[in-house]
């Protein structure tokens, strides 16, 4: 017996379907269905996953594409796609319906249905005699030969009369009948979850929905014998007839690239070649030694591009970066394909081939049939211009962003399921807050009954089970960060386009994984704060030193020893990628001295390698303390560049192929599993294959298991070498600028804030420690941005008005525009500008008028004087009578922080010390003199708290005093015992043991924590808490 299920919704019919497309495919296949149609409501978002599942496991069942629609509340039908034209038609209908409405909604119009010429239609009558008669007539008129009446049997009350009604309609209007299931879940056991998501959708707990829920679990995929007993044979056979007419498969989807990229008279290959050659002449004006080798590589790369038909892809990106170049927007290409000579010539990237000759040849992997991977980072402040260019050039019809599927995570799942089960929100909040502690000792499930979330064991079991099921369910589609899909013809012929939440933005219904599965190309247009900062730094160097710089200029100079010495000293606050606490503690040990060392440095200091225990072996071997040994030549070829320790994602993939015999396709699956293993534990499936593959090739079990453990450690965090290479460029450039043009460096950085790891306060501290003078915000000297101000023969940094909290750019322009030559001399002059009073207050608070009034109290007192606002009196400048108040040092300090988030006066710690409020302690610069394992006390402002999930229960706290930063390690037991100080302190005194590791890296292991915040209450430096 054969049967095809033609009406089935997955969980991409958000909050209606209760099973993943993959689950539906597997189950239907298991039940021996001939075919399954995934027909989500006005959407094809789920079909790619169903298709991938079918391909991956070679399922026998056929997949049919379709969609379910409701029109005017009483016409419900399913449209199925027999061939590609019908599919395009369906996408068009969905696009029109979705574009008419807000995000998440759709509105069908009669025209849409009338214009449907190719799809097969299954009508689902609603039971109302009048309406059904009306629609029957309408449908047979518009869809002759393509119309069926679909009857569902759900064993509900009065189903008999409904079936009679359908039979009557079928006979009266001569419409053939097909059986269909109206499936919402793959198995009956999913019923509770289906009802929970209904509850979530309605916002009412399950227990109160009563008859609005499904009355039973018949809307699941049912076994064939059941189907046989429910429907007459004729109807079952009709389903297979329909299925047989459908032969469309997503593999048929390919799209054309826009033609305007290629000028007339050229073929794509010719044009690409010309651009590359043109670029080559510029890039290699001074012929390098291996010039012919380079030419050979270019030829090889171009051949490969042509073979795979990727010319358009490269030309599209070339066009975009040319636009950026014209507009003087800094950009940087990144990714495996980016680090090719072709891309260097096309100016997509600045990685000089002489440097990348050591990189992997992973340019385009033909054997893996993988599309080229190029991300382009643009200055974050100007990325929007690039996006607008793309929209303008290709039009809204031909380009859209890829989607991101937002799924339920643990917290949101717990909250929603809890609400659906009737648990009070306050309780849920309390529970979530209480388990989200850094102490993750106890499993959340064990704590449920304890914390009063469920009244008994069976309730708690249900809660746990439902939350686990809901995790990973899609909630809605939102727009991807910057992945654009661009096509020659209208996009909606390929995939439906819907509205995103942002106005004027449209999104396709598939996400980047779906695009990859179908081998469709996308262009990633991303934003990077450091590029903005670098451009600003270049601009400052040009203005103040007359020197024009570019990224390529700097990298061409190769490895400057001065710069690397600075890096090895870990003097890298503000430098791209190597400024974090973890990086800085690793730099003196790894001691990078050339470009490739930087590439390793960036990739190795991440949770992945740390967790997989790669760092220590690497260091030991690099220092000669441990021999490098390779079990075979193949492994050596892969791992010798990193001394036998796998650090890069590419190495793992390559190992899988050469050492364990994975095919290109399997290696690709492994890569994908690594990227998302936290979400679905797919990685474990590869364990036996990898280990057995390696053992088969003669590697011993221990080695194989070690490699697998390292792979697991990689997880999502393993960094591709190609990305690391691009980042290393920017790390080097920013370090170079910090070394040679420090004033420009800090100024450019602060003008691009927010970005990076450090706050302006910390950057200013670092600048001052480098002997750079920083001048306060001043109404007579500052502009909106921070500036470099000439002071005798050096430059100082003048803080800009942007640093004042509560002061707007508009107000700043007014202030500057009206500024007299000799500056403002009276507060009343400022009052006459049309600046809002609260903004003037902000200026006063920042003590920006210090050239006019002695202190901020005086300034404010003067500002409050309403008399001077009267026109007759504005020339009158009375001295304040009877007013004597002035702030003391601590008040000044507090307000500095409150108003500008930093201070240029004494550091709070220095101030407290000068006022005798602190007991004996060692300052940051003094730590070098203390011997290893001595017991000391340190005091500082808490500027960073990091609890990386990998380090078992340890928190790293950074304390800042007036001489620098101090690294403190707090173990879990210490944290628990002194919870108050640990959690609350903004100024912390730590007594503990000093530990000095190799390279001179110093930590304090905390013993006693004392909260000293009360000494400077109301301090407004908030530390950035990372997890």
């Amino acid at each position: 017996m054969y049967y095809a299920e033609l009406f089935c919704q997955s969980n991409f019919s958000f909050l209606t379907g209760a099973s993943h497309p993959e689950e539906l495919m597997q189950r239907a296949n298991f039940l021996n269905y001939q075919a399954l149609a995934i027909t989500d409501e006005c959407s094809v978002a789920g079909i790619v996953r169903a298709y991938s599942e079918q391909q991956k496991h070679q399922l026998a069942i056929k997949l049919i594409i379709g969609s379910y629609f409701c029109f005017q509340q009483n016409l419900k039908l399913v449209l199925l796609c027999p061939h590609k034209e019908a599919y395009s038609e369906l996408c068009r209908i969905i696009t029109n319906a979705r574009r008419r409405s807000e995000k998440g909604e759709y509105q069908l119009e009669e025209w849409d249905l009338k214009s449907c010429q190719h799809c097969l239609v299954i009508w689902l009558p609603q039971g109302d005699k009048e309406q059904d008669n009306h629609w029957a007539k309408w449908l047979i008129r518009h869809y002759p030969q393509r119309l069926w009446l679909g009857v569902q049997r759900h064993l509900t009350a009065n189903e008999q009369s409904y079936i009679q009604h359908c039979k009557q309609l079928a006979e009266q209007y001569q419409i053939p009948v097909t059986a269909c299931g109206g499936v919402l879940m793959h198995e009956a056991e999913r019923l509770p979850l289906q009802q929970v998501v209904t509850a979530i959708k309605e916002g009412i707990p399950v227990a109160q929905l009563g008859r609005d829920l499904l009355s039973n679990a018949e809307r699941a995929l049912r076994p064939l014998d059941k189907i046989k007993s429910l429907y007459p044979e004729q109807w079952i056979v009709a389903s297979t007839h329909i299925a047989q007419r459908c032969s469309f498969s997503p593999s048929e989807l390919k799209y054309q690239y826009p033609e305007e990229l290629i000028p007339k008279g050229y073929t794509p290959r010719q044009y690409l070649r010309e651009c590359v050659l043109r670029g080559m002449a510029v890039r290699f004006a001074q012929r390098p030694d291996n010039y012919f080798g380079i030419k050979r590589t270019i030829a090889k790369e171009l051949r490969l591009i042509t073979e795979m038909h990727y010319e358009y892809f490269f030309l599209t990106i070339y066009d975009i970066v040319q636009f950026a170049k014209q507009q003087q927007i800094l950009y940087q290409g990144r990714g495996s394909a980016a680090n090719s000579v072709v891309c260097y010539c096309l100016e997509i990237t600045s990685v000089d081939p002489r440097q990348i000759s050591v990189l992997f040849e992973r340019f385009i992997s033909k054997e893996r049939n993988e599309p080229p991977d190029i991300d382009v980072d643009f200055e974050h402040e100007r990325r929007e211009e690039v996006i607008q260019y793309i929209y303008q050039k290709y039009g809204r019809e031909r380009t859209a962003l890829a989607a991101t599927v937002t799924t339920y995570r643990f917290k949101s799942a717990l909250r929603e399921v809890g609400k659906a089960l009737g648990i009070a929100e306050v309780q849920l909040d309390y529970f979530i807050k209480n388990i989200n502690r850094r102490d993750r000792g106890l499993d959340w499930q064990a704590q449920i009954v304890e914390l009063g979330l469920a009244s008994n064991a069976s309730q708690s079991e249900k809660l746990v089970h439902l939350v686990e099921e809901l995790k990973g369910f899609p909630r809605h589609l939102s727009q991807h960060v910057g992945g654009f899909v661009i096509s020659a013809g209208p996009l909606y012929q390929l995939v439906p386009v819907e509205n995103a939440a942002m106005p004027e933005r449209t999104v396709i219904q598939w996400d980047k994984d779906d695009l990859e599965s179908l081998a469709l190309l996308k262009v990633d247009v991303l934003a990077l704060g450091m590029l903005t900062a670098i451009r600003k730094m270049f601009q400052l160097v040009w203005v103040h030193y007359g020197r024009k710089l570019s990224i390529t200029d700097i990298t061409r100079k190769q490895d400057d020893a001065n710069v690397y010495r600075m890096i090895q000293r870990a003097d890298t606050v503000g430098v791209f990628q190597i400024e974090s606490r973890a990086q800085m503690s690793m730099l003196p040990r790894l001691r990078p001295k050339n470009y490739y060392d930087l590439v390793i440095q960036i990739a190795i200091v991440r949770p992945g390698p740390i967790q997989g225990d790669m760092v220590h072996p690497f260091l030991r071997r690099r220092d000669g303390k441990e021999p490098e040994s390779y079990p075979s030549e193949e492994v050596k070829a892969v791992l010798s560049r990193t001394r036998g320790v796998p650090i890069f994602q590419e190495q793992v993939i390559k190992l899988a192929m050469v050492a364990a015999g994975f095919t290109g396709g399997e290696a690709d699956q492994l890569r994908r599993a690594m990227a998302s293993w936290k979400k679905n534990g797919e990685l474990m499936k590869f364990k036996s294959k990898l280990i057995s593959g390696m053992m088969h090739r003669g590697y011993n079990y221990d080695y194989a298991e070690r490699i697998f453990k390292q792979i697991c450690g990689f997880g999502e965090y393993g960094f591709p070498e190609s990305h690391s290479a691009s980042f290393a460029i920017l790390a080097y450039v920013s370090s170079w600028l910090k070394y040679y043009y420090p004033e420009a460096f800090y100024t450019g950085l602060m003008n691009s804030w927010p970005m990076g790891f450090y706050t302006p306060s910390q950057l200013v501290q670092d600048a001052r420690q480098h002997q750079i003078r920083v001048l306060p915000v001043c109404v007579n000297r500052s502009h909106w941005d921070h500036l470099m101000e000439k002071q005798q023969d050096k430059f100082a940094i003048r803080l800009g008005l942007r640093q004042v909290k509560g002061f707007s750019e508009d107000a700043a322009h007014k202030l500057i525009k009206n500024r007299p030559q000799s500056g403002y001399q009276y507060v009343s002059q400022l009052k006459q500008l049309t600046i809002k009073s609260n903004e003037l207050q902000a200026l006063a608070s920042a003590d920006a008028m210090h050239m006019i009034e002695k202190n901020r109290y005086q300034t404010r007192w003067a500002l409050l004087n309403t008399e001077s606002e009267l026109p007759l009196f504005n020339e009158l400048h009375e001295p304040a009578t009877g007013y004597q108040h002035q702030p003391d040092d601590i008040e000044n300090l507090l307000e500095d922080y409150q108003a500008t988030r930093l201070t240029l006066k004494q550091h709070p710690i220095a101030l407290l010390q000068a006022n005798g409020k602190l007991d004996k302690f060692v300052c940051a610069t003094g730590l070098a003199q203390i011997r290893h394992q001595a017991i000391i006390s340190v005091v500082g402002m808490v500027t960073g708290r990091q609890a990386p999930g990998t380090a078992s229960g340890v928190t790293f706290i950074t304390l800042e005093d007036h001489t620098g930063n101090i690294n403190v390690i707090v173990w879990r037991a210490t944290a628990r015992a002194q919870k108050q100080a640990y959690l609350k302190a903004q100024i912390l005194k730590v007594t503990g043991i000093l530990e000095r590791g190799d390279g001179g890296v110093t930590h304090i292991i905390a013993g006693k924590l004392e909260d000293q915040s009360h000494l400077l209450s109301q301090l407004t430096t908030r530390s950035r808490d990372f997890h």
Binding site: L155, T156, A157, S215, K433, R860, L864, G882, E895, L983
Partner: protein, 467 residues
């Protein structure tokens, strides 16, 4: 005569009312609007929790913390009760809800022969209530308030001393809006004294009239008119129990307290009442109202106590009671009764009154009405609920349902012919009353139309009969 005011401030009123007995666990009272700690007990304070602290931080500092939402009505009611008891001693009272009382005392002192005696009387009454309070005298209402809130805890008539004390208070403690106080602090003016020292012209040029008015009232330069409290006409008093009580007999002593207060109330007004409503506030359920009637108007606590006791014997508590409140029905002046005790009064009762009376006489559980519940499971649809509650409407179900539904499905023993069905119902997993049944309409040999069902184990039951 120079005016003198006394302010009473109750810093932890809700905590004292509800949790005074509980010293073994840390408790905080939470302001719901911003989840900040408003009141806390000793144990909570020892754990490091401070007023104003957020809920998350407080929980982190103290795992077994008990959190109670802030209830300003509770505090206001308590204040009113205190006013009533103070009204016996002093005439001019003004409420500052939720946690303050102001007394105008200069014209009362002569009745008490001096401030000390007066204060002894007042404090005596307050102490009986077992709540914490701070107090202070002042030359003006605002002065007394600011001093009491600063925990000065002194009564005196020395104007100089009181004035000095006021000047030393920080502006934060004043009634000025936070915005204004911040602006003043930002020009270095922090204390009342600082502000008072500034020339008025400078102040007037910079701040609005409200500041000037406040300072004037505070320092006595401007008149501050106060409207005084008038005791309520109707008696409605609430008593928070120190611990939860689930036995009606143990409720009697607290009820006694309420009845005594009632007697005082009625006595002063020379009133009586025929009906009392006692609300028992229960933790997990809606509050239970016990109505007690007396054939003729009564004010004596003793009499009501007996009636109440009898009534309570038939009351079953489903869950513990945490508070009681007592209110009267209509009250009227005591009139000498001229008519016959047995003449029998005719009163027209409304439906709710009838139900209340029946419930009072028979007990609430025996007076029920039928309601329909929205559920697929047939046995869950028909429910009884306590009479008097509103009925909720039911969504339509296009199905045939039997006229008679058996209260318990019975095993099907006879042969029947199945005619309509199955109607499959799989529901109820969420409350441990899950069912998996296929319902059919069947025809028996005797010609009866049955509603039967088959379970997953293939057993047949009879659930209803069609008319």
């Amino acid at each position: 005569m120079k005016k003198l005011w006394l302010y009473l401030h109750f810093p932890r009123l809700q905590m004292d009312c509800q949790f005074l007995a509980e010293q073994h666990r840390p408790v905080i009272i939470l302001e719901a609007k911003d989840n900040s700690t408003r009141q806390l007990n000793e144990l909570a304070s020892k754990a490091g929790i401070k007023p104003g602290m957020g809920l998350g931080t407080a929980c982190a500092l103290c795992h077994d913390l008990h959190v109670e939402p802030y209830n300003s009505d509770l505090e206001s009611n308590k204040i009113k009760q205190l006013c009533d008891s103070l009204y016996q001693l002093t005439s001019d009272i003004c409420l500052f809800p939720p946690d303050g009382i102001l007394l105008r005392i200069h014209n009362m002192l002569r009745f008490y022969d001096g401030l000390d005696n007066y204060w002894q009387a007042i404090s005596g009454t307050l102490d009986k209530n077992n709540i914490r309070y701070h107090y202070a005298t002042g030359a003006t209402p605002f002065a007394a308030k600011i001093l009491a809130q600063s925990q000065w805890d002194q009564v005196c008539e020395d104007r100089q001393q009181m004035h000095q004390q006021v000047l030393a208070q920080p502006l934060d403690a004043s009634e000025l809006p936070t915005r204004v106080v911040d602006n003043l602090k930002r020009v270095g003016i922090r204390l009342i004294g600082d502000l008072a020292a500034m020339p008025l012209s400078e102040i007037a040029r910079r701040f609005d009239i409200q500041l000037v008015t406040y300072m004037g009232r505070l320092l006595g330069e401007l008149h501050h008119s106060i409207s005084f409290y008038h005791p309520e006409k109707r008696f409605n008093r609430r008593l928070e129990l120190l611990y939860e009580i689930d036995n009606t007999q143990i409720l009697l002593p607290p009820i006694q307290l309420l009845l005594q207060a009632l007697e005082d109330f009625l006595l002063i007004r020379d009133q009586v009442t025929e009906e009392l409503l006692l609300n028992l506030h229960q933790r997990e359920q809606a509050s239970l109202t016990v109505t007690v009637n007396s054939a003729e108007g009564e004010y004596r606590a003793k009499v009501w106590q007996t009636l109440m006791q009898l009534k309570l014997e038939s009351v079953q508590l489903q869950s513990p009671v945490y508070a009681l409140s007592l209110e009267t029905g209509n009250t009227h002046l005591k009139t000498p009764r001229a008519d016959d005790l047995f003449s029998g009064k005719k009163t027209a009762l409304s439906q709710t009154q009838l139900i209340a009376m029946l419930q009072a006489k028979l007990g609430q559980e025996l007076v029920q009405q039928i309601s329909l519940h929205n559920d697929f499971r047939p046995e869950q649809v028909n429910r009884y609920q306590n009479a008097g509650k509103a009925l909720s409407p039911l969504p339509k179900l296009q199905a045939n349902r039997p006229f008679f539904l058996l209260s318990e499905p019975q095993k099907l023993n006879e042969k029947v012919r199945l005619l309509q069905g199955p109607e499959r119902i799989v529901s109820g997993w969420w409350d441990d009353h899950a069912i998996t049944r296929d319902y059919f309409i069947a025809h028996s040999a005797q010609g009866r139309w049955y509603w039967v069902f088959r379970t997953a184990e293939q057993r047949w039951f009879l659930h209803g009969v069609f008319a």
